[in-house]
């Protein structure tokens, strides 16, 4: 899956969200799909491409929502960095680490978003929001990540060695 397709996917996700359509949620928390795409993209493919997706998706969100331009980009960028760390391999399987990274990324994403919105005024108090919604969102994101991971993994045929080649080697 090329970066152009990834960008199209990201813009579609933003249009979905700004059109007011529902996203997966649980106990007051909702999946941060855009942030998860950036994270999984950085983990599976390339952090540099994930940075590009964060910029494209973040600016699209900011332009189509009431945010000042740049707020969502700044909140999304750490997900590209967190997903891109090569050293993180907590377990033998590749499917669990992204979910754990997603939990951490959620906290960072919401913290930056809340700080920037608080600086601009009108956002809920930082600590209250962190306790009431961010923890629930972190759990939802952890659960949703394997689905997005599977999607990007299946679509990453251009960077994934085929089974036949693996067998012959």
């Amino acid at each position: 899956m090329s970066l152009a397709l990834g960008a199209t996917w990201v813009v579609f996700v933003v249009l979905w969200q700004t059109a007011g359509l529902p996203v997966a949620g649980l106990a007051g928390g909702h999946a941060d799909v855009l942030m998860l795409i950036v994270l999984v993209w950085a983990y599976l493919r390339s952090p540099r491409q994930a940075i590009a997706l964060a910029v494209i998706g973040g600016f699209t969100v900011d332009i189509l929502s009431a945010h000042a331009p740049g707020v969502t980009v700044l909140a999304l960028l750490p997900a590209a960095a967190i997903g891109g760390f090569q050293g993180i391999k907590l377990l033998d399987t590749d499917w669990v680490s992204p979910a754990i990274l997603a939990v951490g990324s959620t906290v960072v994403f919401h913290f930056i978003l809340l700080v920037l919105l608080n600086v601009q005024g009108g956002a809920p108090p930082l600590w209250d929001a962190m306790m009431s919604t961010v923890l629930a969102s972190a759990v939802v994101n952890g659960l949703v990540t394997p689905l997005l991971y599977a999607f990007v993994w299946l679509a990453s045929f251009d960077v994934r060695p085929s089974r036949r080649r693996l067998r012959t080697t």
Partner: protein, 319 residues
Amino acid sequence: MIRRKPGAAFGGRTALWFTIAAGFAFFTLIFSNLPFFSVFQDAALAVAAPAQRAVRAVASPMGDFAEHFGGFGALKTENDSLQAENARLTAETARFKEKEIALNDLTGLLDVKLARPNDKFMAATIVARSTDRYERAVAINRGERDGVRKEMVVIAPAGSIVGRISSVLPDFAWVTLLSDPGSNVPAMGQDSRVEGVLAGRGDDSMRLELLPRDGGVKTGEIIMTSGLAGGFPRGIPLGRVIDVAGSDQDLAPAVYVGPLASMRNLENVLILVSFVPSAVPVFGTISPATAGSGQAAPAAPDAGAAKRPAEAVLPGSSR
């Protein structure tokens, strides 16, 4: 196992790209008040609005299915229509009841009503919604060129208040909803006549704050605008009390209020163009944007209000 592309490791060049992207975002954030960004955002909304409508039309059934897994489509449609009807009737009943109270009231409310015999509204369509829980706002397809001004009051077709205009672009405007965490509206109970401030909580409900200890607000009571501070006209429905919590030891009861109109399904709204808010500096009622700029009441909106045919003068008035 995935074989990554070049640039997979978060090394020197990637860190450089990261820094450039973050610097660019900071730059746009710092200079976001420049007029260029308003024009850019206006154009982006104009381009995105049809795309959003298409996405909504195509994906709405999928969204509904995902949301109500198990398939209760017909039941949901019926429920939505009943809720809309209920909201309309509740707002109408509340308005009639309020009129009855006003007519019997000897405190001069009748004079206020007579001074505002016909409210003028401008119809608008919602074209975008904010994506996170920290900022509850919708974009409408009316802007500065239509005569929309900051702080104007926005009303649902059923008659209850949705929010107020928080920023105006040339052809679009952002409406901060009552449920926004930064929203504070002077309010009162219709039956108890207790006054407080209706504050947004970031979800679909609001909380009535600054109440006296023996408020007497009850579940099911309609909450109206009190008209204090001049930001909203008096006597327009805001919501209905859904829960009253708290113990005798609390300084004030925790009163939770739900909206009369469903914010999620709202597609069209009315801007009250005949009411010009006056910015009386009362604690908790001035939005950060207004307070920061020291902006007073917006100019009379009539200049461009008659440009579009969708403008409508609705029967009935809000005092």
